[in-house]
């Protein structure tokens, strides 16, 4: 049987969900028999080719995030999101309580770790936007909340997908922290 093709990416996030995925440990080995990861921050392949399952970690915080989310959506049959940021907006939405200028000033000036406290500006840098969960930008088929989701939750979701079912985490596994 052909392997299920999977592509993953991360947007506005801390990479904790992917770390949780790696925490599957030996289960990863058996998983590798049935899935093939075509693109992922772990493999550092960033271009998406058509896959069965797309996975997004992180919220949508700028135009780049939105574009990546849309590209992956266009290339996958089923889109799954990992973590509170992707499901709800999560910790990233803290900045929605302030203006963009306030956030940048705080980051680059008051708590600065850079030498010159200038707010970087370049055409290449996508400007910050209000943080949104992924489902406000593209259609999402299934959600694995958690900050990060436990590897148990991730495993459950992947196993359900491989069985041909859209996963909804049971209450016992679901956690928001």
């Amino acid at each position: 049987m052909a392997k299920v093709k999977v592509a993953t990416t991360w947007l506005d996030c801390c990479s904790g969900c992917h770390m949780s995925f790696l925490d599957l440990d030996e289960a990863l080995i058996s998983l590798a028999d049935v899935i093939e990861i075509t693109a992922s921050p772990i493999t550092d392949i960033k271009e998406f080719s058509p896959v069965d399952v797309g996975i997004i970690e992180g919220a949508v915080g700028n135009a780049h995030d939105e574009e990546v989310a849309k590209k992956l959506r266009a290339n996958c049959k089923i889109l799954m999101v990992w973590g509170d940021c992707a499901c709800f907006g999560g910790i990233c939405t803290m900045r929605n309580l302030f203006t963009r200028e306030e956030v940048l000033r705080r980051y680059y000036s008051t708590e600065s770790t850079t030498k010159d406290s200038n707010i970087p500006s370049s055409e290449d840098l996508p400007p910050l936007r209000e943080v949104k969960p992924v489902n406000q930008v593209v259609k999402v088929d299934c959600y694995v909340p958690g900050c990060p989701p436990s590897s148990k939750a991730i495993h459950y979701a992947l196993a359900e997908l491989l069985e041909g079912r859209i996963p909804i985490l049971p209450s016992e596994i679901m956690r928001f922290d």
């Binding site: 999560g90 910790i91 969960p133 679901m174 928001f176």
Partner: protein, 657 residues
């Protein structure tokens, strides 16, 4: 109440007329999710989590406010209502900051639990992200409005249970906030810091700095014990983790003795760095030095010799009966002295003498009624007491009686500090005229024909003495109208309760107590064989100590040469400190270092409340049990063990049994 029959989820269930649909569901084990409902508080239908379908109703209705009727057909678990509930949850989550990963209450949150229950893995609506203030100025409480769901549980517990009426909704519509008074910072408001709102809050909107990040309920051990602070004897649910105190909650928040006060809920959690952890004796230079228990015991036996025959013992009624009786035996038998007292024994002697003068009473303290009677009162007369300060739960019961049951509150106190927001009638007698005032009130009551006692004892009448309104007015400085009004209101009360306390006892005049008792007797304010009179007691086991006879004689007369003071963790009073002046040989067994221990010749360690175990007698005579919630610190001795060691050294037998 007539019985009604309903059909809930196709099953016939019974309830009473007047029940809500939710109450009947809960009584019959039918699970309906709730958020703004808290047992014991009124229901308001704020959150809509408990929506159910009712036949012939056009739309789903909240079960918590829907009055049940006979023949009602209810469905609580249809796909449609479950859908609505999940949708309501999503809407609540979009309203404010309900992101759990940086919330202290995550894991102990009703909102979060509901979201798990409804497998809410995404939200279909845009979030509003309002930027709301956080009030963290109080030393005890924080209100983070961003976490609030406006369920109003804090507001209802504040008005209905604490009867402080500090919290209420402020502003309108989606700008609504929970505000203290007129949106004051909580620390500057009328808040009494009882913390009932912390326990009632279903989310992380109101929490205490003293509980912060110490542990979640599921990680804690829970032990139900009794408060070691004052004589009310509130039940505490103490949560501990790794032998540390985490949080104290009220196991029965909404019952009369249920809510806790600042001390029971918060102050007990404070860890002091000044614990006495080892015995200390004075060295040759007069400095207190750490030593072995054996050396300290030797120093005590030496000191006992020098203070021969003039040695006394004082014990704090914060220790349970078991320790008290051993201490009694220790002083009486081992030391051979009858100089023995409790730290508040002076109050006892005035109260008991007052009761004796009343009717040569054999029932002693049993003449007083249980504190629950305060809630039933239609008039409360407070004489020389400030319950809000000394026994805050009595304070909340009085406030409840006044605000909810329309009881009239008469306060005899010159200061104006007693229930300043609640008193209906002030009587501010000149210093020293309290007795004249109390007997004057009795006289007015008799004159107005309000005395319910058929036969007024002649001895009492003669003790009232001559009275003329004008003289009464001159002696007390209180207007005639006020005196008459007070006599009428109390005299006509059907369930009038008198509360007196330290400020009255400070006058050291037992006849004041007698006068109060006569006032109650005269107006027939009895409940069964008890008078509706309550004397406030300062310590958890004050009454236990008194009943054991520890305070009968007292040591107010001459000062002893030597003194054994078992202070335990009682806070040190200035008065005691002054009294200790001039005692040659002082042994202090205490939990914390204080000016008292630094005056001592020998200091011995004592357990703190959480490490102790035993029986307390509450101020109204109920036996309650103090349970050990923390294992004693390493190397600590039981309080009794030290006494036994000293006895051993003296060649005497002393045992607990």
């Amino acid at each position: 109440m007539s019985e009604i029959t309903l059909t809930i989820n196709d099953k016939q269930v019974k309830g009473k007329q007047g029940d809500t649909v939710l109450e009947i569901c809960q009584a019959n084990g039918i699970d309906v999710p709730t958020l703004c409902h808290l047992e014991g508080l009124s229901d308001v239908g704020a959150c809509r989590m408990c929506v159910v379908e009712i036949e012939k109703e056009r739309r789903p209705v909240p079960a918590c406010t829907y009055p049940a009727r006979d023949g009602l057909v209810v469905k609580t678990d249809t796909e449609q209502v479950e859908k609505y509930r999940r949708q309501i949850l999503e809407l609540i989550f979009t309203e404010r900051n309900h992101f759990c990963m940086f919330c202290e209450q995550s894991g102990d949150c009703d909102l979060q639990k509901l979201a798990y229950r409804y497998q809410m893995d995404n939200v279909r609506y845009p979030y509003t992200f309002p930027s709301l203030p956080v009030d963290s100025l109080s030393d005890y409480l924080v209100i983070d409005h961003n976490r609030c769901v406006l369920c109003g549980r804090c507001i209802r517990v504040c008005s209905e249970i604490a009867a402080s009426h500090t919290l209420d909704f402020a502003r309108r519509g989606w700008r609504t906030l929970v505000g203290a008074d007129l949106e004051q910072p909580l620390g500057e408001s009328s808040c009494v810091l009882c913390g009932a709102c912390v326990q009632a809050c279903p989310t992380g909107a109101i929490f205490s700095k003293l509980n912060l990040y110490k542990g979640k309920t599921e990680e804690c051990q829970q032990i139900t014990t009794v408060c070691p602070a004052c004589g009310v004897g509130c039940e505490l649910n103490v949560m501990t983790k790794d032998n540390n105190l985490v949080r104290i909650e009220a196991p029965r928040l909404t019952e009369p003795r249920g809510p806790l006060c600042l001390i029971g809920r918060f102050e007990l959690l404070r860890q002091s760095s000044t614990e006495v952890i080892s015995p200390l004796v004075r060295d040759k230079q007069g400095k207190l030095e750490e030593c072995s228990l054996d050396k300290a015991v030797q120093a005590i036996t030496d000191g006992l010799g020098s203070a021969k025959g003039e040695f006394a013992g004082i014990v704090s009624p914060r220790v349970p009966n078991e320790t008290l009786s051993l201490f009694y035996k220790f002083i009486r038998k081992t030391i051979g002295s009858d100089w023995i007292d409790s730290t508040d024994g002076g109050s006892y002697r005035i109260i008991s003498e007052g009761i004796r003068q009343f009717q040569n009473n054999v029932k002693g303290l049993n003449i007083e009624c249980p504190i629950e009677e305060i809630l039933e009162a239609d008039c409360i007369l407070i004489a020389g007491a400030n319950p809000e300060k000394t026994n805050p739960i009595i304070g909340s019961l009085v406030r409840r009686a006044v605000s909810q049951r329309k009881a009239k509150l008469i306060v005899i106190d010159p200061s104006g500090d007693v229930f300043p927001l609640w008193t209906n009638l002030w009587l501010k007698p000149r210093a020293g005229s309290e007795g004249v005032l109390l007997n004057g009130l009795s006289n007015i009551i008799i004159d107005k024909g309000l005395a319910k006692q058929e036969k007024i004892p002649a001895e009492f009448l003669s003790s009232l003495g001559q009275y003329k309104m004008g003289e009464l007015n001159r002696a007390t400085g209180i207007e005639v109208e006020r005196l008459e009004l007070a006599a009428e209101v109390y005299g006509q009360a059907k369930r009038g309760v008198i509360i007196y306390g330290e400020d009255l006892l400070e006058r050291k005049d037992p006849s004041l107590v007698t006068s109060l008792l006569y006032l109650a007797e005269l107006t027939g304010n009895r409940v069964k064989d008890r008078l509706r009179v309550i004397s406030l007691k300062r310590y958890a086991n004050s009454r236990g100590a008194w009943e054991l006879g520890l305070a009968v004689k007292g040591i107010e007369r001459d000062k002893p040469k030597g003194l054994y003071l078992l202070l335990a963790d009682e806070p040190v009073e200035e008065e005691l400190l002054n009294w200790l002046e001039g005692i040659d040989f002082l042994v202090v067994q205490a939990s914390y270092h204080s000016p008292v221990t630094s005056r001592a010749d020998v200091v011995l360690p004592s357990l703190i409340w959480a490490e102790r175990e035993g029986k307390y007698v509450t101020m109204d005579g109920r036996s309650v049990r103090l349970k050990q919630v923390l294992k004693p610190r390493d190397g600590m001795y039981q309080d009794e063990e030290i006494l036994i060691q000293i006895a051993k050294k003296l060649g005497r037998r002393l045992s607990l049994s």
